[in-house]
């Protein structure tokens, strides 16, 4: 085995220069909960590992004056879960993030890593998508900001170009009458990979009518899905039985899952509709709380 260089840049520009100048395969290290497993399994042979945690921007979780949040790409789930503000404003985002692995894994696992690992079943991703989160990417041509759902292009592949990496995320302020939720199905109670995941963010008006909705499904296609027809099915309704049936049907129609030991195509498809109903119900309850 070749030896691996190890770098710990302190600025974004240094990290970009290291990524760009790498002769072989450069890998970013944040929490390492995927990278170290892949190294050990010899799934990858990087020439250099670049630890981004010495870049202050990647390690900060800030609530901005307008109520929005900026979340560093390397902030660990346990750090976010200890914060009362974001946990109260966006419980669904935190639920997804905190479902990644055990307490020990939570001590390290980051949003940047979960997104860039590009698994169709990444637990943090559907709730981030539903919440309308965007990603701040730095690279040789400067910075760009894109929606979370545009990052993954295929299982294990992102749209990041050579020299680019995710620095941080933007999470909007919780809107008035807003609520969110993330649910996943696994065959056990903890420590497993989602068979289906569903993230929901909605807003209700004072009469309880759905004003806006964004619904996202994980683990039922090659990438995390945004299901626009599911959102349309409930916008303008009070989540009556017909709206919930239409929501369920739209989610099922969007699924293009694989058949594997975790779940068959039929099972995953049916569960996607069930989870969407339940997640919307929870999000609506939260939207009603002041």
């Amino acid at each position: 085995m070749e030896s691996i260089e190890f770098e710990k840049p302190e600025t974004v520009d240094q990290a970009v220069a290291l990524l760009q100048g790498a002769s072989g395969n450069a890998k970013i290290l944040a929490g390492g909960t995927d990278l170290l497993v892949q190294l050990r399994a010899q799934m990858l042979e990087p020439s250099v590992i670049i630890d981004i945690k010495h870049i202050e921007e990647t390690r900060k979780l800030t609530k901005n004056s307008d109520g929005s949040y900026t979340i560093g790409a390397a902030v660990a789930g346990a750090e976010a879960g200890d914060r009362d503000d974001i946990t109260k404003d966006w419980p669904g985002v935190i639920e997804g993030w905190e479902l990644i692995g055990s307490t020990q894994v939570q001590g390290r696992a980051s949003l940047g890593g979960n997104l860039c690992n590009a698994s169709p079943a990444g637990d943090s991703v559907p709730a981030m998508v539903a919440a309308g989160m965007t990603v701040n990417i730095a690279g040789p041509n400067g910075r760009r900001t894109i929606p979370v759902e545009d990052v993954t292009v295929a299982p294990g592949r992102t749209c990041l170009e050579k020299g680019e990496f995710v620095v941080s995320f933007n999470l909007p302020a919780r809107p008035a009458g807003g609520g969110d939720a993330y649910l996943r199905l696994i065959p056990r109670t903890e420590m497993d990979i989602a068979v289906v995941g569903c993230g929901v963010a909605i807003t209700l008006d004072d009469a309880g009518v759905v004003k806006t909705a964004k619904i996202s499904l994980g683990a039922v296609a090659a990438t995390v899905l945004v299901v626009e027809d599911a959102a349309k099915a409930i916008i303008g309704t009070k989540l009556d039985a017909d709206a919930m049936s239409a929501l369920d049907a739209a989610c099922q129609a969007a699924c293009k899952p694989i058949d594997d030991k975790r779940g068959t195509i039929e099972y995953r498809t049916k569960i996607a509709g069930v989870l969407a109903r339940r997640a919307v119900t929870i999000a609506a309850e939260r939207a009603g709380e002041k």
């Binding site: 030896s3 390492g32 497993v37 399994a41 630890d51 307490t103 894994v105």
Partner: protein, 160 residues
């Protein structure tokens, strides 16, 4: 490339070591620092036998690189007892035989101590979720969970 020269603290004492990029914190603890209390079970973050605290966060030392640990505060099972005086969790695990083969025990103890420092009155559900990343293949979970709950009760009583 040259090895990395790392300076850190381990159980309150300054330590220095050299490691290659591939060496995990677990490799460093066991092979470079001769601290063999932390065990390697799966080496992929699933079993928790290598649990340690890094900068006051519970982590799997198999999922941390040694090279990341410069200036870090590391706490392992070896620092749990105060000299000959066992930590209340250690005493309770012995009294209640909350272990069989013992391989998972160091990780369970480190993780349970981290829980009790955050929450001195956890419910059984909270204990079970907190310890979900500590696998015991001797099927000893009930005794482990009871010992943690009973230690918490003793510690609350003693704090009065």
């Amino acid at each position: 490339m040259a090895k990395h020269h790392i300076t850190a603290t381990l159980n309150g004492e300054p330590v220095e070591f050299l490691c290659s990029t591939r060496q995990t914190l677990l490799d460093v603890l066991r092979d470079e620092l001769n601290m063999t209390g932390s065990k390697e079970g799966c080496a992929s973050g699933d079993c928790g036998a290598c649990s340690v605290m890094v900068d006051d966060r519970l982590v799997c030392s198999c999922l941390v690189l040694g090279a990341e640990c410069d200036n870090k505060k590391i706490e392992s099972i070896e620092g749990m007892a105060d000299g000959e005086k066992l930590h209340p969790l250690q005493t309770k695990f012995l009294e209640e035989a909350a272990l069989q083969c013992g391989i998972c025990t160091p990780g369970v103890l480190v993780a349970a101590k981290a829980l009790l420092e955050r929450n001195n009155n956890p419910t059984e559900t909270e204990v079970r979720y907190w310890l979900a990343g500590n696998l015991c293949r001797c099927t000893g979970y009930d005794k482990i969970v009871r010992a943690v709950m009973n230690t918490a009760a003793d510690m609350r009583e003693n704090a009065k």
